[in-house]
Symmetry: C2
Subunit: 363 residues, 2 copies
C-alpha cells in the first residue's frame, strides 16, 4: 500500500489542521522538525501490539527528540478516568511539560484516550494523531473529538481538541485483524449511507477486492471515506448541526455496548446493528423504502457485520439510550437515514417506535 | 455592601465574556432569561455551607428553571478525578444534557471543580461562575482556568474554559471567615505587586478599613484587584506570555501545599510565603532593593499572612517544584517581582539560588 501518494487536506476548524493521507510513519519526524522548532520531548501513547509493529518505524524519524513510550493495555475499558490518572503520573515521571508533544499511535481507543489526556494535561499540550486502524483512519482520528467513558455512559467526559495534524499511513492496515477491519467498515458504510450514495455503491460493487485487501481499492476506500468525515466536520466542528449525522447507528450501538458492558461486542458490530435499527425506524417513519432497508442489511451482512443481536432486552436497551449525549430535555434525539446517501436528525420518535425498531434487531 | 453599582467588564478572549462586578445573586435569573432562550435545566454545584447561606437567594430568580443542587464536601482534596466521576454520575442521574447550565456557586475549589466538570461533561456544557469568596472574586473566577489536582501535583489536569459570565455579588463577602479573607488578600496583594504599585499603596494605607470590612473600601479593593486580573488575562488568555506573571509566589506556594498534602496550610498562606521567597530571590538577582523586600514582608505580615513557615525541608520543597506546569525542558521557570508593581518571568535561577530563597522563609 506504499504506492499511495501523500495527500494533504486541511480541516476547517477554529484552529485548522491538516490530515495527511497516505503518508509514512518514518516521515513524521521530518514533518515535526519542519513545523515546530520548540519540541524537545515526545510522549508516544500506544498499545503493546501496535508498538511492537510500528514504534520502531515511527521512531526512526524521531531520533532528534527525547522519547518516552507509554503502553496502555488494550480494551475499551481503558478509556477511563483511572487510566487517565495513571497516564498523568507516568507522564510527570518522564518530565513531560507544556512543550511536550503527545503522539497517539493506535486505533480509536488510543486516539480518544491519549487525545483527551493531551487536551487536559497541564490544560492542554500538543497532539498528533497517528491512526493505525481502519476505524481510526476513516473516522475517529478526524474531527478532534476525544473522550473517556464513565460507568454511566460512553464518551461522557471529553473535549473537542484539534490535533496539530493527523498522520495516516495506509500500510498499517495490512496487518489489521479482520475484526478490526469490520469496525472500520461499519463506520465507512455509515459515512456512505449518510452522505455519499456513490460510495455506498462502491462498497456494493467492490466487495471482492475490499475483502482481499486490494491495495489500490483500499487506498480509494480510506480516502473517500475520510473525505466524507472531513467534509462534515469542516462544516460543523462543534456538532451544532450536520455533524450529528455521523452518529447514525450510535445511539442504538452505544446502548448495546453499555448493556453488554463492552464485552463480547466490538464497536463496529454495535454500530452495524444500530444502523439496521435506525433503518427500520426510518422505514416506519416513511424515510426509506423496504428495498433500501434491505440494501443496507445486505451490504452489512456481506462484510460479515452483525445485523441482529441475541439475548438482549429491548426495554433495558431503551433505558440505556437515556444517557445519550444528544438527548435534550429528556427527549431522545436520533439520526435516521433518508434513502441511501442522506440522513436527518429527529426528535420525533416515541419510545414505542424506538422499541419496535429494537425488536427488529433482537432475537 | 449592596450600595455598589453593578459594573460590566468584557474580557477579551477567543470567546469574550462579561464579568459583572457588584451584581446581586437574586438578579442572575433575570440575566439568564434575557441572554439565553434554550436553558431549561440548571445544575448548581456548591458546598453545604455556601448553599445554606446563598442558594435560596440565588434560586429566587431561577424559578423558571428545573434546578438541581449538587453538594460537594469542602476541601482542596475534593478537586479530584474521583469527585469529578461522582459529579458525572449525579449529573446524569438528574438528566443533565448538553443544553444544561452549570452554576459554580462558591470559592476557588468549587469554581475549579465545577468549571472543569462543565468543560468536559459531554465535551463541554455552559457555565456561569458565581464566586462567593474574596479569592474567587478577585482571582480564580476570572480568566477561564479550571482544573483538578493529581497526587503528583496541583491543577495538573484542567482546561481553559471561558464561562458564559462571571457574576459577582460583593455581599457574599460579609460573612466570609477571616481565614478565607486572607486567601483572597494574598492574591490581591500579589496582583498589586506584579502590576499595580498604586494598589500596593492602597493596601498599605487602608489597613484599618480593610480589616474592618468597610463596605466602600472593600468594593474598591475587589474592583481594583479584579481589574488587574481582567487586564492581564485579556492580553493573554492562554498564558503564552504576560499571564504567567499571575503565578508569582505560586511555584513556591504549590510546593509547600503539595509537601504538606494540602493539610494545615491554606492556599493564601502558601502563596504568601511563596511571594516572600520570590522577593528574596529577586533581591539576590538585583531586581529588588532590600527596602522593597521589607515592604512586601511588612504588608503581608500586617494582614496576618505568613511570611515564614516551620518544619519543612528545603530539598524536598525544591524537588516538589519539578512538577510545576510552567517548567520547560527540566528548567524551572519562575516569576520574580521587579520592584513594587512590576514582575518578570525567568528561567535563569539555579537550584542553589532557589534553595537559598527557600532557606530565607523556613525556620
Amino acid at each position: 500500500m506504499s504506492l499511495a501518494m501523500q495527500q494533504k487536506i486541511e480541516i476547517a476548524a477554529d484552529k485548522p489542521y491538516p490530515v495527511y493521507l497516505g503518508s509514512s510513519l518514518e516521515g513524521l519526524g521530518e514533518y515535526l522538525r519542519h513545523q515546530f522548532d520548540d519540541i524537545e520531548h515526545i510522549l508516544i501513547v500506544s498499545h503493546q501490539v501496535v508498538a511492537d509493529l510500528y514504534a520502531q518505524r515511527l521512531m526512526k524519524g524521531l531520533q532528534d527528540y527525547r522519547i518516552n513510550l507509554l503502553i496502555v493495555p488494550a480494551g475499551e475499558e481503558e478509556k477511563s478516568l483511572d487510566r487517565l490518572s495513571r497516564l498523568t503520573a507516568e507522564a510527570l515521571g518522564h518530565g513531560t511539560d507544556r512543550k511536550s508533544l503527545v503522539i497517539a499511535l493506535g486505533g480509536g481507543v488510543i486516539g480518544d484516550l491519549a487525545g483527551f489526556f493531551a487536551s487536559i494535561f497541564m490544560r492542554g499540550i500538543r497532539l498528533i494523531q497517528v491512526p493505525t486502524t481502519l476505524l481510526a483512519q476513516v473516522d475517529s482520528s478526524i474531527g478532534g473529538k476525544v473522550a473517556v467513558n464513565h460507568s454511566a455512559g460512553k464518551n461522557i467526559l471529553g473535549a473537542f481538541y484539534p490535533p496539530q495534524a493527523v498522520w495516516t499511513d495506509f500500510s498499517t492496515l495490512e496487518s489489521l485483524p479482520w475484526e478490526e477491519v469490520e469496525n472500520g467498515l461499519a463506520e465507512s458504510i455509515k459515512h456512505a449511507l449518510i452522505a455519499d450514495g456513490d460510495l455506498f455503491q462502491f462498497f456494493e460493487n467492490e466487495q471482492k477486492p475490499i475483502k482481499h485487501r486490494d491495495c489500490l481499492i483500499w487506498s480509494e476506500m480510506v480516502t473517500r471515506s475520510s473525505l466524507v468525515k472531513i467534509r462534515i466536520v469542516s462544516q460543523d466542528e462543534r456538532e451544532q448541526g450536520i455533524r450529528a449525522l455521523l452518529n447514525l447507528g450510535h445511539s442504538f450501538g452505544h446502548a448495546i455496548e453499555t448493556e453488554m458492558d463492552y464485552r463480547g461486542i466490538t464497536h463496529g458490530q454495535g454500530v452495524s446493528v444500530g444502523i439496521v435499527a435506525a433503518a427500520h425506524l426510518a422505514f416506519a417513519k416513511g424515510l426509506m423504502t423496504s428495498a433500501e432497508v434491505d440494501r443496507v442489511i445486505a451490504l452489512l451482512n456481506s462484510y460479515g457485520l452483525l445485523t441482529k443481536i441475541k439475548g438482549l432486552d429491548s426495554q433495558n436497551l431503551l433505558h440505556k439510550m437515556q444517557a445519550d449525549k444528544k438527548n435534550q430535555g429528556g427527549r431522545k434525539i436520533l439520526i435516521l437515514p433518508q434513502g441511501i446517501g442522506q440522513a436527518l436528525v429527529t426528535k420525533e420518535c416515541s419510545d414505542s417506535e424506538i422499541l419496535a425498531a429494537w425488536k427488529q434487531v433482537l432475537f
